[in-house]
């Protein structure tokens, strides 16, 4: 187990550097990093040259990348366009996005798995068909449309929620945004659970459990669900990273000041340091989430042993 973790961590290194380098190149080479440093105004040539030198932008790109990464490992993510430290932005943005992600994951687990179990056990019945069509519709409607609609109906017309989230972003204000963020994954979790349940319900060990005279509820929770949830847990785990990175749209609609909001601002103002810094952390979260999922797999399925 220990050796497996180490091997996986080693494998993550090239992926981590590859992904961050890619983003670094895109932002640095194709864009104009100086533009962002002068705030909203255009820089005059002299200031630009001076800033170039100050930030080491006159050096080759690979050197810039190495310098940047060196700084990152000492905890220095640089400065954002408004002079704020990027780490400060992170300290305010990440807790918000993490709360939003938690809400989304809770929706996926509670609603997605329940619907999946219900439909998986009633394959071909009206409720199954209805939920299947619903999931297709949810998958088909882009998140930003779902978000705008819910905001319009719940926030503007019915006034159940406030259409924009306050800057503290407490959990209760994040319920609907979390649902919007989760919506597509929620549909996938439902379908995945349904397929998995339906397949396992025909398994021999379920028949054995019935022959043992176990109550139906116990057969479903203890025998069927334990086996069926293995692929679902994998999906949800992998989704954590994706949700945090994909929160941009949701955060924009509901005006949530999280990671997506800061990234969006960073991109609009071409603040290299903000963008690369946030993306670096997101890639790291994504890779770690994948690793944890792999390890969880071994816990859920005793047949899997990592060497």
């Amino acid at each position: 187990m220990g050796r497996y973790v180490i091997r996986r961590l080693l494998q993550m290194i090239p992926v981590f550097f590859g992904a961050t380098l890619l983003i670094f190149l895109m932002v640095n080479v194709m864009g104009d990093p100086i533009a962002g440093l002068c705030g909203d105004k255009a820089c005059d040539p002299a200031t630009a040259a001076q800033l170039s030198k100050e930030y080491g932008l006159d050096k080759p790109v690979w050197q810039q990348y190495l310098t940047y990464m060196g700084n990152v490992f000492t905890g220095d993510f640089g400065t954002a366009f408004n002079g704020q430290k990027v780490t400060e932005l992170m300290a305010s943005a990440f807790p918000v996005t993490i709360r939003l992600t938690i809400v989304a994951i809770v929706f996926e687990v509670v609603i997605g798995i329940s619907l999946g179990v219900v439909t998986g056990l009633r394959r071909g019945r009206p409720i199954d068909t209805l939920v299947l069509i619903l999931t297709l519709v949810v998958i088909a409607i882009p998140t930003f449309v779902t978000g705008l609609m819910l905001q319009l109906v719940l926030g503007v017309q019915w006034k159940i929620i406030s259409p924009s989230v306050s800057s503290e972003a407490p959990f209760n204000e994040l319920i609907i945004p979390g649902l919007v963020l989760a919506s597509v994954s929620l549909a996938y979790v439902t379908r995945l659970t349904r397929t998995s349940i339906a397949e396992n319900a025909r398994a021999d060990y379920v028949r054995t459990a019935v022959a043992k005279g176990l109550p139906r509820f116990r057969i479903i929770t203890r025998h069927l669900l334990r086996n069926s949830l293995i692929p679902v847990v994998t999906f949800i785990g992998t989704d954590i990273g994706a949700l945090m990175g994909g929160a941009i749209v949701t955060e924009r609609i509901f005006n949530i000041h999280g990671v997506g909001f800061q990234l969006y601002q960073g991109i609009l103002r071409q603040s290299t340091q903000t963008v690369v810094g946030f993306v670096t952390i997101l890639v790291l979260v994504f890779l770690l989430a994948n690793l944890i999922v792999d390890l969880l797999y071994a816990v859920l399925d005793p047949r899997i042993r990592y060497a």
Binding site: A211, K212, G213, L214, R303
Partner: protein, 325 residues
């Protein structure tokens, strides 16, 4: 009588039509008695057993008529919850493929123990102790250490012993073993079969042994019911059937057992294939494959005729079959 199946009919409704899997089966098992149900795959032997256990998949399966009397009550008239309480406690089942029949993600101790926690309301700790006790009883070495292991960590024979331990756990009065040794190596087969027979004697249980292998049956069974296309074609005490079968199908089965004294001869095989259950031939279902078939066999279903006090055969020509030896 411990168990009596009376005129049981089971159908499967499929996309291609109605498959008549069981067509009027009668059999009975007394306490301490072993009934071997013999037949090819598709003969309805497993479906009958599943109907008795109450684990038939419904739909597509459907019990269209019949009675299953267990200790003089008709199981088919019981409510779901009453039926459930009989399963595991009063009757238990051993399946063919222990690897797929055991839950891969629960330890064998949990799987044996849950019978005690669910049916007897025992604590998990006591149930675990019981599981160790049972594993000892089916002679799994180092039971105490292995109780927390998972099915894939056991060998095929050991897994089947775990299935047996599970079936015996609550000391039921009837055990149904569906091809319990088919998936095992030949040497292990004998050990598992002996163990099963021994425990059955000890606990004085009724045993229904479903198999397609006549060789397995001879040593353990008291009586045999041979099934073909969802019907019983012959019933007999075990020794008499070996001496003189009263149905051409049984005869064919016996002739296709390899024997040491017939070295060099070609092994006999029943020609043709088992019938399609969607289109069972009219008359005697065996007629297309029967060497003795006459016109009457193609039109009239042969009734189960009393051959002797203890024997029955569903063949128009059972006398001729008996005499042909």
């Amino acid at each position: 009588m411990l168990l009596e199946v009376r005129d049981l009919h089971v159908e499967f409704h499929t996309r291609d039509g109605v498959a008549k899997a069981v067509n009027g089966v009668n059999y009975s098992v007394a306490e301490g008695e072993t009934l071997a149900v013999l037949g090819e795959s598709g003969s309805g032997k497993s479906v009958t057993a599943q109907a008795v256990m109450g684990i038939l998949d419904m739909p597509p399966g459907k019990i269209s008529s019949g009675e299953i009397l267990f200790k003089d009550q008709d199981l088919l008239k019981l409510k779901g919850e009453e039926r459930r309480k009989i399963r595991g406690q009063e009757m238990a089942m051993i399946f063919q493929d222990a690897l797929s029949s055991l839950n891969p993600v629960l330890s064998v101790g949990e799987q044996i123990g849950e019978l005690f926690t669910v049916h007897r309301g025992m604590s998990r700790k006591d149930a675990k102790a019981k599981a160790v006790e049972l594993m000892d009883r089916v002679r799994i070495p180092a039971a105490k250490e292995r109780v927390g292991q998972y099915p894939h960590q056991f060998s095929g024979g050991m897994r089947q012993r775990i299935m047996i331990a599970m079936a015996l756990a609550l000391e039921p009065s009837l055990i149904i073993a569906d091809e319990p040794t088919t998936a095992l190596d030949v040497t292990v087969q004998a050990q598992v079969m002996d163990l099963l027979a021994e425990l059955q004697r000890e606990l004085n249980m009724g045993l229904i042994l479903i198999t397609h292998d006549l060789g397995v049956v001879a040593d353990v069974a008291d009586k045999i019911a041979v099934m073909y296309a969802g019907r019983i074609v012959e019933t007999s005490p075990v020794h008499e059937i070996y001496k003189a079968p009263a149905h051409p199908y049984t005869k064919g089965l016996l002739q296709s057992i390899p024997r040491l004294d017939q070295k060099g001869q070609e092994l006999y095989a029943i020609k043709g294939l088992p019938p399609n259950l969607l289109r069972i031939p009219p008359g005697c279902a065996f007629n297309p494959r029967c060497p003795m078939a006459q016109d009457v066999c193609r039109t009239d279903v042969p009734p189960l005729a009393q051959v002797s006090e203890t024997r029955q055969s569903a063949c128009h020509f059972w006398k001729e079959t008996l005499d042909a030896r």
